[in-house]
Subunit: 318 residues, 2 copies
């Protein structure tokens, strides 16, 4: 099939399977049209996944579809935005219809969970490369930024950390160990924290999603806000399966430096009690430290200074 | 340099060099934020260029920057939208600082001409692939669609046709022939017809940009509108340099079937006089035929039926 047949066979049906009322026109013209409700801003973010760099050729295409959308939705979550629409620019060599259909099924599964509509894209021949752009809306001036953290704010992390980084050691293994299965599931099917981001908007002082590793990503918040931080490593929410596989010392390294977890790291300008009052029991959040006026990041473990080699991930440098 | 250094060194300065008031936040957070003026819709379109498929490795990176943005702006023109912001997802192998800087200079040159701001992107390692997404605004319900053409409407084309297709024969030639230079310039530096699109919105009955060839792209309009067309080949605006190089017979084929011209094809529900009253002398537009109630596309040359093999371009199929 050529591009136009694939559009009719696969992408137009996907664009009709999950719809959003802010989409006035989806796939099928030179561009899509969105309306943004009064008093709202449009938030957009784009991420590329390249075969070999971001995933292995052996990945299940259904997981790849999920993951490609998840890493983008995670950016909307970090902005506190509500998902509306996405585009897919798919560059691929001659691949099979089952591959395409499975990939699209993974996209559909996660897009359904978040009500985000496919509104356009492009299909080109070349080495497998996926660029997705997501679009969300947020009430004016309530977006979560990197630049708002202030001294004394609590530093918080959603979910748990380190599983995706540990999974990199097991991507091509054939073991049926339950811990291995658990970390692989976290790697292949990250859960973007969209609902948490929506609850935090207009409330948290800063936020970022943890794609390149906690220290690296928190570093962006500290630089943008002109502040520093103290982190208590013993308060890090370690993924239990990862901890069982890696042991405590390496678990701390993975939780601090490992990428691909797609949890949120945010700063809270209040107390643990006011945070709990906002979130209730709906979201698992750990307080792992505090923002300081002094710049730089200080790590402690059980009250003692901790030195660690983790530097975060830069896909382009590697 | 890694991704973060390139962002600081090149992309953030480019994002500040050309700014748009609808951009509330550009490069530097998990997402960009746009405001859409009341009574307007946001229009978005995405296009990928792959080395080897859409351009040769020998292309001047400055031309590549221009061209990558031009082909995307052309989609906004075809929607009648006013450019606001764009994103750049750049996948590339280890390339040099001069290459990056020259590429960015080409982007900046065209973005300055259209006042469109770079607001985000991604940089990844891999085979050279560029995905740009452009965002524009259009007054509500005035966007130019493919679906509005009606029987009796005039079929019109901006500028002239065939030069870019002829240029494909000369991409690696060393001649200093003026006609060759002219067609190569049209290929490397297409001029998106943004101002024409803005004038036509709310007025023309349908529009598309000619990226894959007039017959192929007009075919999309005919299908979307449920109509047919009669085209007079002798009224096609043939690019003069292309005509000199190709001769009349092949010139007609290139004008009808060749891609990459990025002119607008639109339908006009009025007379040549009412069209001229709208456009004045500002835009060169040729009337090349008429929409018919009978579906199918009929070609004539000097009153006689014309048969031609051109089928339009499908980058994915090839």
């Amino acid at each position: 099939m050529g591009e136009f047949e694939w559009i009719r066979h696969l992408w137009e049906p996907l664009g009709r399977a999950v719809t959003h009322p802010a989409v006035r026109q989806g796939i099928g013209d030179d561009g899509a049209r969105l309306v943004v409700p009064a008093g709202h801003e449009l938030v957009l973010s784009v991420d590329t996944l390249v075969e070999g760099g971001h995933f292995l050729p052996s990945i299940d295409p259904r997981d790849l579809g999920w993951r490609a959308l998840a890493v983008n939705l995670s950016d909307l979550a970090a902005m506190g935005a509500t998902p509306v629409a996405y585009t897919l620019a798919l560059t691929c060599p001659g691949v099979s219809a089952p591959w395409f259909e499975s990939f699209a099924a993974g996209l559909e599964e996660l897009s359904r969970a978040h009500g985000i509509q496919l509104v356009g894209g492009d299909m080109t021949r070349g080495p497998l490369t996926l660029t997705l752009q997501v679009h969300g809306i947020v009430p004016e001036n309530q977006a979560l930024l990197r630049s708002g953290a202030g001294p004394g704010d609590l530093i918080c992390v959603s979910g748990d950390l380190g599983a995706a980084a540990e999974a990199l050691n097991w991507l091509e293994s054939a073991t049926d160990n339950a811990d291995v299965a658990a970390v692989l599931a976290r790697y292949h099917r990250p859960e973007p924290r969209v609902a948490l981001g929506e609850q935090l908007r207009g409330q948290a002082s800063a936020a970022i999603d943890i794609s390149d590793g906690l220290l690296s990503d928190l570093g962006h918040v500290l630089r943008a806000s002109g502040v520093g931080a103290e982190i208590d490593a013993d308060r890090l929410p370690l993924n239990p399966a990862m901890l069982a596989l890696a042991g405590r010392e390496r678990a701390l390294e993975l939780a601090l430096g490992g990428g691909d977890d797609y949890e949120l790291c945010f700063t809270w300008p209040g107390t643990p009690a006011t945070l709990e009052a906002l979130l209730g029991d709906e979201h698992r959040v750990a307080v792992i430290g505090r923002i300081t006026a002094d710049t730089g990041l200080k790590l402690f473990d059980r009250g003692e200074p901790l030195t660690i080699g983790a530097a975060g991930h830069d896909h382009f440098r590697e």
